[in-house]
C-alpha cells in the first residue's frame, strides 16, 4: 500500500484503532464515564477526519475500496449516527444490570463495518463490511442477556441475517461464474454489451436482492424488523435503523449504479414492485401499533420503500434525492429514538405510546423534539422530511415513474395518521402515566438533550433552508477512477 492509501483510509483506521483503544481502557478498569468520553472523542476524531482526507477524491484503493465524495458523505452520515447513538447510550446503560463497557467496542466495530460498505466496490469488501457489521450487531442486540426479549430478538436476527447472508453469497458466486470477476467495474464491463441479462446473472442478482432486502427490511423480507426493534436495547435499535441500514443502502446503490443494472427492465420493474409493497404494507402495519418501537420499525420499512423510489428512476436527481432523504430520515429517527432512550429507566424502556401521554405539559423540550421528529417523518412542510419527499417525487417524475410517485403520496397520507397519533398523545391533557424524569446522571442527560436539540434544529433548519445541503449533494460524485485488477 502506498502512503497515500493510509491517508485516504484515515477515518476507517481511526475507527478500528478506537475499538482496540477502548478495549485497553476496559482492561485498565476505567469507569463507564471515562470510556464513554473516550469513545465520544474517538467518534468525533473519525468524523472530523472525514472532512480532512488529504488526497484528491475519488481515490481508489484497488481492487477493494473506492473513496469518492458519495462514499465520504455516506460515511459521514454513518459516523454521525453512531456518534449520536454513543451519546444517548450513557444515560440508557448506566444503572442497567449488564456492564456496559464492551458495548462501546462493538459499536466501533459495527460502525467500521457500515463505513466499509459505503466505500466498497468489490464483492469481497462488500461481504467483509457486511459481516463486520452484522456479527457485531448479533452481540449488541442480545447485549442485555438476562432479558428474554433481548435474547429472542438476538437469535431471530442471527438466524435470519445468516440466512440472508447465504443468499447474498450464493448470488455473488453465480455472478462470479457468469462474469469472471468480483469487482463492480469489471462486472459492468462484461455486462456492457448485453441487452438482456444472462439467465445465471439474473438468478444471481435475484438472490443478492433477497439478501439485501433482508438487511434493509423491505417487504416481503421484513418479518424480523418489528421483533428485533422491540427486543434490542434502544440505542442499538437506533443504530440498526440508521447506520446499519444506511451502509447497506449505500452499497446497493453503488452496485446497481456502477453495473448500470436499472437499464434492464426485469430489475427496475421488480424494484418498483418492492418499493410499492414496502411503502403500502409498512404504513398499513404501522397504523395500529401501540408500541413506539414497533411503530418506528414499520415506519422504517415504509421509509426504505420511499428511498427505493429515489433510485429506481435512475435520473440525474436520483443520487442527490436519495442522499438528502437518507439524511432527513437519519436525523429524524435518531431524534425520536434519542428521546425514547432519555426517558427510559433502569428496568423498563419507554416504548409504549401510553407512557408519552401529556408529555408536553411535563417536559416541553423533550416533547417538542419527539413531536418535530414525528412531523419530519410524516413529511409535514417546514421540516426536513417534507423537502426530502419533495425531491423524491421530483426524481420519480423526471423519468415518468408516475405510479411510483402516486404510491409515494398515498403512503405519506397513510403515514400522517399514525405520526399525528403520537403527537396527539403528547399534547393530551391530564396526568402522566410515564416514568418520572431522570436526575441521576445530570451531565450526560444535559449532553444528550443538547445533542437532540441540535438534531431538532437540523430538522427545522434543513426544512426551511435546504438549498445549501442540496447544492452540496448535487456535486457528489460516484465512481470515477476505474480500478485495474
Amino acid at each position: 500500500m502506498a502512503p497515500n492509501d493510509f491517508l485516504a483510509l484515515l477515518p476507517l483506521l481511526i475507527l478500528s484503532i478506537a475499538a482496540v483503544l477502548v478495549m485497553m481502557l476496559i482492561v485498565a478498569n476505567q469507569s463507564h464515564r471515562v470510556i464513554q468520553m473516550a469513545s465520544l472523542f474517538l467518534f468525533l476524531t473519525s468524523f472530523l477526519s472525514l472532512f480532512l482526507i488529504p488526497v484528491t477524491l475519488p481515490y481508489a484503493i484497488a481492487p477493494l475500496l473506492l473513496i469518492d465524495s458519495f462514499g465520504v458523505y455516506m460515511m459521514a452520515l454513518i459516523v454521525f449516527s453512531a456518534l449520536v447513538v454513543n451519546i444517548i447510550s450513557y444515560v440508557y446503560f448506566e444503572g442497567k444490570e449488564e456492564g456496559p463497557k464492551e458495548y462501546y467496542v462493538l459499536l466501533f466495530l459495527c460502525t467500521l463495518g457500515a463505513c466499509i460498505l459505503a466505500v466498497s466496490q468489490h464483492f469481497v469488501s462488500l461481504f467483509l463490511g457486511l459481516e463486520i457489521l452484522t456479527i457485531g450487531l448479533y452481540a449488541l442486540i442480545a447485549y442485555l442477556r438476562s432479558r428474554q426479549r433481548a435474547i429472542e430478538a438476538g437469535i431471530k436476527y442471527l438466524i435470519l441475517a445468516a440466512f440472508s447472508s447465504a443468499f447474498l453469497l450464493f448470488g455473488m458466486a453465480l455472478i462470479y461464474v457468469q462474469t469472471g470477476s468480483m469487482s463492480f467495474s469489471l462486472i459492468a464491463h462484461s455486462l456492457a454489451l448485453e441487452t438482456d441479462l444472462p439467465a445465471l446473472f439474473l438468478l444471481g442478482i435475484g438472490m443478492m436482492m433477497v439478501g439485501i432486502g433482508f438487511k434493509l427490511a423491505i417487504v416481503p423480507f421484513h418479518m424480523w424488523a418489528a421483533d428485533v426493534y422491540q427486543g434490542a436495547p434502544l440505542p442499538v435499535t437506533a443504530f440498526i435503523a440508521t447506520a446499519s441500514k444506511g451502509g447497506v443502502l449505500a452499497v446497493t446503490f453503488r452496485f446497481l449504479t456502477s453495473i448500470d443494472g436499472l437499464r434492464f427492465h426485469v430489475l427496475s420493474a421488480s424494484l418498483v414492485v418492492l418499493a410499492m409493497v414496502s411503502i403500502l404494507l409498512g404504513n398499513i402495519l404501522a397504523l395500529q401499533q401501540k408500541n413506539l418501537k414497533r411503530l418506528l420499525a414499520y415506519s422504517s420499512i415504509a421509509h426504505f420503500g420511499y428511498l427505493l423510489v429515489a433510485f429506481v428512476p435512475n435520473s440525474p436527481l436520483s443520487l442527490p434525492a436519495m442522499s438528502f432523504y437518507l439524511s432527513a430520515y437519519l436525523i429524524s429517527t435518531l431524534a425520536a429514538f434519542g428521546i425514547m432512550a432519555v426517558r427510559s429507566d433502569g428496568t423498563e424502556e419507554a416504548e409504549e405510546l401510553a407512557s408519552y401521554t401529556s408529555l408536553f405539559w411535563q417536559s416541553p423540550l423533550q416533547a417538542s423534539i419527539l413531536g418535530l421528529a414525528m412531523l419530519s417523518l410524516a413529511g409535514i412542510p417546514l421540516t426536513v422530511g417534507f423537502t426530502g419527499k419533495f425531491y423524491l417525487l421530483a426524481a420519480a417524475i423526471q423519468n415518468n415513474y408516475w405510479a411510483l410517485a402516486l404510491v409515494l403520496v398515498l403512503g405519506s397520507i397513510l403515514g400522517i395518521y399514525y405520526y399525528l397519533r403520537v403527537i396527539n398523545s403528547l399534547l393530551k391533557g391530564g396526568t402522566t402515566t410515564g416514568a418520572l424524569p431522570k436526575t441521576a446522571f445530570p451531565y450526560f442527560l444535559v449532553l444528550s438533550l443538547v445533542m437532540l436539540s441540535l438534531l431538532a434544529l437540523f430538522i427545522l433548519g434543513l426544512g426551511v433552508f435546504p438549498e445549501s445541503l442540496i447544492g452540496y449533494l448535487k456535486d457528489l460524485q460516484m465512481g470515477g477512477t476505474t480500478s485495474v485488477y
Partner: protein
C-alpha cells in the same frame, strides 16, 4: 484425468443450498436451524470454489476462506445465544420464543 464440469458442481451447490433452505424453514429446533444455515453457507462456498477454478483465479478460494471465518464467528455467537435460551426456557423450540407478538 477427468474433471467435473462447472455445471455439475453448481448443480450440487444448488442442491445443498436447497437442503439448507428447507432445513431452516421446516426445523423447529434452533440448533438444527443454525446447522442448516451452515449448510447454505458452505453451498455458497462450494459455488465460489467452482467459479474460481472455472476462471483459473484464486479469488474463489479466497472468498471461501472468508466465508469459513465468518461462519465460525457466527456459530460462536449463535451457540452462546442458544445456551442462554436453554438457560431461560429449558427448551430449544423456536415456537417457545414468541414473547413479542411477531
Amino acid at each position: 484425468m477427468t474433471t467435473a464440469s462447472i455445471d455439475n458442481v453448481l448443480l450440487l451447490a444448488g442442491l445443498l443450498f436447497t437442503i439448507g433452505v428447507a432445513g431452516v424453514m421446516m426445523r423447529k429446533n434452533i440448533f438444527f436451524m443454525l446447522l442448516s444455515v451452515e449448510i447454505m453457507l458452505n453451498a455458497a462456498g462450494l459455488a465460489f470454489i467452482a467459479a474460481g477454478s472455472h476462471w483459473g483465479q484464486p479469488d474463489g478460494q479466497v472468498m471461501f476462506i472468508f466465508i469459513l471465518a465468518m461462519a465460525a464467528a457466527e456459530v460462536s455467537i449463535g451457540l452462546s445465544l442458544i445456551l442462554q435460551i436453554y438457560h431461560l426456557h429449558k427448551s430449544l423450540d423456536i415456537d417457545n420464543l414468541k414473547e413479542m407478538n411477531g
